[in-house]
Symmetry: C2
Subunit: 196 residues, 2 copies
């Protein structure tokens, strides 16, 4: 035994299992006991590392925020020097993440299931918003509107599109099966029509 690929202890294995499980079976399947079962331990074992169910779920959600931040970071880096393209890429990456990892995305914003004071939750999401503000400020240096406000509204718009589209509410109302037009509409609305 001990021949596992990465036996860095039960703690991270529990989180691994949760990350797998949430996209396979949805948030509802993330019971403490099911996670323990899949990790091959008894239902009391997780308690050694996570005092409560919420803290385990928070650790799982943290992985999601890390993935999202990484993915968004790549998207931004790929368009260095062009804030508008960076914002577009960031937005697309966000929406893509939400639609690809549905279970995880739902968990990440089910704040009744998360401990907001959990290490890394705010730490991972706040920098993301900070870069959003910077990018917005870079795109509209002249406009009188406060970048924080514009960025906040844009963020909310992205989040809303991701959420509503994920539920199927928007495609029923808007028609079609591609959220891209919505995305472009949101970007154009908040940042002004695409230059050129």
């Amino acid at each position: 035994m001990a021949e596992r690929e990465q036996d860095t202890g039960l703690r991270s294995r529990l989180v691994d299992v949760g990350v797998e499980l949430v996209d396979e079976e949805g948030v509802g399947a993330l019971s403490l006991r099911e996670i323990a079962r899949r990790a091959g331990v008894s239902h009391g074992a997780p308690r050694r590392y996570f005092p409560t169910h919420l803290s385990l779920l928070s650790a799982i959600a943290r992985r999601g925020f890390e993935s999202l931040a990484a993915q968004a970071g790549e998207a931004i880096a790929a368009h260095e020097g062009d804030p508008r393209a960076q914002l577009t890429a960031l937005a697309r990456s966000w929406l893509d993440f939400a639609l690809t990892n549905r279970g995880m995305f739902e968990l990440m914003f089910r704040h009744d299931l998360l401990r907001s004071d959990h290490l890394g939750l705010r730490e991972t999401s706040l920098p993301l918003f900070a870069t959003l503000v910077d990018l917005v400020a870079g795109v509209r240096p002249d406009s009188g509107a406060e970048p924080r406000i514009v960025a906040g509204a844009l963020w909310a718009n992205l989040h809303g599109i991701a959420q509503l589209w994920g539920w199927g509410s928007l495609q029923l109302a808007v028609g079609g099966d591609d959220p891209e037009p919505l995305l472009r509409a949101a970007l154009d609305a908040h940042l002004g029509p695409e230059a050129r």
Copy 2:
């Protein structure tokens, strides 16, 4: 007995209790047994009217959509003839509803807790969106953008602001304790700056 103000049967009493409960104690308190307890019946009684927990929650959420639709309807009626003002009033009313009835608003969009085929859920929300599309079309009759797209993006924006603000995520990032600037930013962005 039978001297209640409106003893229209257990069915509606259960929904009444749920409506009270969800804003008092939150979505998490809406257990079947707790609702039955507060209604003064045994835990098996609701089953006579609601075959499953989800169907009871859906009936409760339906009340929320009805309230929201009514509230939005009043807001629109108050500005007859001025689509831009109507849209502003509709948006404000939506956000106001979300922040005043937090528990209910959360329930209404916790689609994992609702049966989307439940009578009245789509029936109550789709017309709301239809009026939104009409109003948007009225405000931007010239623009090349499809009203449905603009309306969808605006809807998502409203929803995102309501949700994120309700969690406290946005005020931390944007600063201040008034969501009004965000609302105005969203409206101006999607509908163009206020006329005049």
